[in-house]
Symmetry: C2
Subunit: 282 residues, 2 copies
């Protein structure tokens, strides 16, 4: 079975390495608009060969589409048109509604499986790809009733061999929830980094004081615009709402502090502390 990877960055590269580690699939072929990424991907053993997109589409039994979400929305319909009738194509985009919408009435819609393996890091490119990126992480399947059972089955097999846990949601549910769980934290982090950078002209003082919590809260601010701008655009309405609610929370904290309602801040912190026990993020 030939596996075709479109987009040989962190996600596509890590899936490929994860599958190869488990001896899933025979030949791995890939393509990337970024020639350097493509070269690296071959050198790093992510794929056996770089071939033109049109050839990849015809030669692959499974196509994994792991490029920014605006790219997926743009090329998915035309790829679906060209695939063989038994090929399965799955995407790994971080938003799902617009992508699913782009092929909703497509005659070959059922060969497409919309998935979101959740394990991004702030780094990007094939050199950061690793076979264990998805180990024990979660993968969301969206609108899976619109895909053929055999297509779902192959996608499940792919994520199972990487030891992922599968969850099934509608694409609307996915985008709503993920706006709070992932997209808002990125906005929070970009905005905090901007605020702090603007305030510190003197790097010497900055460097002498960093280390006290800024590291973790600005980790996501290192993420690149090529990935994140399309995600924000694609999940615009949900994200605007999430940002509004977040600003309301901040304003409430600010009001308590301004009005010296310190017992309310105490309660505010204690409620936030629930993130520790209730949700077991380590």
């Amino acid at each position: 079975m030939n596996i075709g990877i479109i987009g040989l960055g962190l996600i596509g590269g890590s899936i490929s390495l994860g599958l190869r580690k488990s001896n899933f699939g025979d030949k791995f072929i890939g393509t990337d608009y970024n020639k350097e990424n493509a070269l690296h991907a071959v050198k790093l053993g992510i794929v056996d060969e770089i071939i033109p997109l049109q050839d990849l589409i015809l030669q692959s039994s499974v196509i994994i589409l792991s490029i920014p979400v605006d790219g997926i929305e743009k090329i998915l319909p035309s790829i679906l048109h060209k695939i063989r009738s038994d090929t399965v194509i799955l995407d790994t985009g971080s938003t799902k509604y617009e992508i699913c919408n782009s092929v909703y009435s497509h005659p070959k819609r059922s060969r497409f499986v919309a998935t979101h393996p959740i394990a991004g890091i702030e780094k990007s490119g094939p050199i950061f790809a690793n076979s264990d990126l998805f180990y024990k992480k979660n993968c969301i399947f969206c609108d899976s009733e619109l895909s053929d059972p055999d297509a779902i089955s192959i996608a499940e097999k792919i994520y199972s061999v990487m030891d992922m846990r599968m969850i099934y949601l509608t694409s609307q549910e996915h985008d709503f929830y993920i706006s709070y769980i992932s997209h808002l934290p990125h906005v929070v982090s970009f905005s905090l980094a901007s605020t702090v950078l603007k305030r510190f002209k003197e790097e010497e003082i900055f460097n002498s004081m960093k280390g006290s919590g800024l590291d973790s809260t600005t980790r996501l601010a290192k993420s690149k615009p090529e990935t994140w701008l399309p995600i924000f655009i694609s999940n615009r309405n949900n994200l605007i709402q999430a940002v509004d609610i977040y600003i309301d929370h901040l304003k409430r904290f600010r009001k308590y502090l301004k009005n010296k309602e310190f017992h309310k801040i105490d309660r505010y912190i204690k409620k936030a502390n629930d993130i520790k026990e209730k949700i077991c993020i380590n």
Copy 2:
């Protein structure tokens, strides 16, 4: 030389362990209003003995005051009154202006050294104390011209043996900068955790989606109110200003998204990305 540690939590405990590791000081004596912490501190070898505060004050050549900042402000003046004339007392509080202010005209002011070793984590208590917590981290000395040279010298020695880098600022400068570098990130994180927790009643869905950036941005939200409420109160004016500027940044992002000014979001992200190169937080 007897070292007295008032407050045997993460910070006091780690300093004690760090000094003992380097064979600095002879006997380590401690006190903590929390009896459990005090017991743990002896069991863990943080101090040799727990003794009443009044005895500790008289028996110590160096006193390290590592309790929440409101406690420091409250007891520092009376401790200063009671110390021997050659004793050095230093504090480790995360705010410095109010603390320095509380002893500004004190007859024994010069025996006090105001310091902030920057290396907190979201965990607390002596069981998390470790001798390497401060290794290669920064320690801010504030208003050091108000301390006797021999007192500064001993404090510098203490932080040097733990391999810390020393920086000298006024207490006002410290509090202004730290409001952006540490206090604002905590508010950001508490508020994000509150926002997300309120949105997710169903933990099942939450657990299936977490992992995509929320972990790092809500790490600080696990920090306890006993430490952080007094810090927020003590640095109230600076923090209100920092929160206002942060909200302005968020609103600007929100406006760009609402108005579909996507090229401006691209620039916004790129500017935030500077946190990576300019400031070398790893």
